[in-house]
């Protein structure tokens, strides 16, 4: 969907003449009140669920949760996935041509924030004729967008479902992002962000960025259970640069895969959006004051072994909602998988969301 009118950004800049790609699942009802927006995190896209014709392996990134008969049941809800601006899956992003220079944006793509994404999503929903969403659902960075929806457009959603998320990044979180960014920026193939003109891809930087990220998505226990100290070979090879441990092999594989499809400038932009998200910031650090404008009902979920966005971070949000006398439920799922748990199909987690969405369906008579 193309937008001719510029999108004003939090930075003061504007995104002009932009396109957002989106997918929908299910049917919008006559009352137009059964829509659920699913917000994506760092490396995902508008392709939330289902497969493309003739591509059986093209499942959407949250296919285990979204679909007919699944916890977010697309026979009841009209589900919308939107690729955020600045991303690299079809919406206007840094690899696309800047209309003011006729060159790819590259490093000149404006810095976008969670709030900017939410505003861009809201505009797309305007076009679809959806004034109020039954729910906004997101995990991790997607959860931040769901929270931001409750603050920027408090009357446009009935329910906010925020999973494995945080009210802002800790210094440790920002530190991991910075290591990833430095890996990309210092890759000689990055060329200050204008590598498209050079016909290069800063794959080395992207690989390291993804490896770092991946470590933070897994728990110590799950990594131990999956890889332990297992070796690729029979015994130590007494090398310093070859792959010897299974975990090394896994991380390199993940890094390679990622560097084949992900845009380096997008990685920088999205990690920066994560760094900047801080709704309490405009209220002197008072999260309770920040949520004073929220009106919707909330469901928060965290996972006990998630050390990237730990349960304590979700409890901060719960407290702010309680202080404002808002309707909030919170589940702390005792899952071993770390941050990644939000994408897996833990039965307690999915049973809870299934019930929650069943309640919402009853509310909007979907």
């Amino acid at each position: 969907m193309h937008f001719a009118e510029p999108l004003p950004l939090k930075s003061g800049a504007a995104l002009r003449d932009y396109t957002l790609v989106y997918e929908t699942y299910g049917t919008l009802n006559a009352a137009r009140d059964n829509a659920v927006l699913v917000c994506h995190a760092l490396n995902a896209s508008h392709h939330v669920a289902g497969t493309y014709d003739g591509q059986p392996k093209s499942e959407g990134w949250w296919d285990n949760l979204v679909g007919p008969g699944k916890p977010l049941d697309t026979t009841k809800f009209f589900v919308i996935g939107i690729n955020n601006p600045g991303s690299c899956f079809g919406s206007t992003g840094p690899m696309q041509v800047d209309p003011s220079t006729d060159q790819p944006y590259g490093a000149h793509f404006p810095v976008v924030t969670v709030e900017d994404w939410v505003d861009a999503q809201a505009r797309l929903l305007d076009r679809l004729g959806i004034t109020q969403l039954a729910a906004v659902l997101g995990g991790s960075l997607g959860g931040m967008q769901a929270l931001s929806w409750s603050l920027r457009h408090p009357d446009r959603l009935r329910h906010c479902i925020a999973v494995a998320t945080a009210p802002n990044l800790s210094a440790q979180n920002i530190a991991f992002n910075e290591v990833a960014r430095r890996a990309i920026v210092t890759d000689p193939d990055f060329h200050g962000g204008h590598f498209y003109a050079y016909g290069t891809v800063p794959k080395r930087g992207l690989r390291v960025a993804r490896m770092i990220g991946h470590i933070t998505y897994l728990s110590d226990d799950s990594m131990e259970a999956k890889f332990g100290r297992s070796l690729k070979g029979e015994a130590f090879g007494y090398s310093t640069q070859d792959i010897e441990f299974e975990i090394e092999s896994y991380l390199r594989y993940q890094g390679d895969k990622f560097s084949d499809y992900f845009d380096a400038n997008t990685y920088l932009l999205i990690t920066r959006a994560l760094d900047y998200f801080d709704p309490a910031g405009e209220h002197g650090g008072d999260l309770t004051a920040a949520f004073a404008k929220a009106r919707c009902k909330f469901q928060l979920v965290s996972f006990t072994t998630d050390w990237r966005f730990s349960p304590a971070r979700s409890r901060e949000i719960v407290k702010a909602l309680l202080d404002n006398h808002l309707s909030v439920s919170y589940a702390e799922i005792d899952a071993p998988h770390g941050h990644d748990a939000f994408l897996l199909d833990d039965s307690r987690y999915h049973a809870l969301l299934k019930q929650r969405f069943a309640n919402i369906a009853a509310e909007v008579r979907a």
Binding site: V318, L322, H325, V328, S329, D334, L352, Q355, N359
Partner: protein
């Protein structure tokens, strides 16, 4: 505290329209009852996954927390009523939880099995730990790690400067106001900070 009659007797202590916090809310039965019959709002606190799901099924807001970790996320006097029904006896730090209940709620309501109910006394007199309908466990597998009596609670409330506004026993779905320490298997107290 799953007996329907007991729940109604305790619900009668909650003023209509109250903002309620139910510590150890189980399946959310009481909160749903208070919402449906007394226009109350509020939240349950529960640790068990199945109970959290059951609360969601009832449409009751539930927050999954371990009560042993305290009530730090709740501000002072932020609820009209804090309920703690058949929960106190499972907690290691019973006295602190009682103090927290009185800190967070303008009114606290607790219930617990009264160990001094006469059949328990008989079994103790016979030399065995009591096993009854309200205390169905053996001494070695009971989750009731704090076993107190109606009278014991009066002492603990006094020690913590709590003013008992109402106190009665429940036996067989009826309120017991005469010799509750002897004649009731469940003790109920409503109190505030005086």
């Amino acid at each position: 505290m799953s007996d329907r009659k007991d729940i109604e007797l305790i619900a009668d202590l909650v003023p209509p329209g109250s903002r309620v916090l139910d510590l150890g809310c189980g399946t959310g039965e009481l909160l749903a009852h208070l919402r449906d019959t007394r226009q109350c709002t509020g939240y349950g606190i529960e640790i068990d996954d199945a109970n959290v799901l059951a609360c969601t099924q009832r449409g009751v807001d539930v927050i999954q927390l371990n009560l042993e970790d305290g009530l730090a996320i709740f501000e002072d006097q932020s609820f009209d009523v804090v309920l703690q029904l058949s929960t106190l006896q499972h907690l290691r730090n019973t006295e602190r939880m009682l103090q927290e209940t009185a800190r967070v709620g303008r009114v606290g309501i607790v219930s617990f099995p009264n160990f001094a109910h006469w059949p328990n006394r008989l079994q103790i007199a016979a030399g065995r730990m009591p096993v009854t309908r309200v205390l169905p466990y053996q001494w070695y597998d009971t989750p009731n790690i704090r076993v107190g009596t109606f009278k014991d609670f009066e002492v603990l409330a006094g020690k913590n400067g709590l003013r008992v506004r109402e106190a009665f026993g429940i036996q067989g779905g009826r309120v017991v106001r005469t010799f509750p320490n002897l004649l009731a298997s469940v003790a109920v107290f409503k109190f505030d900070r005086g």
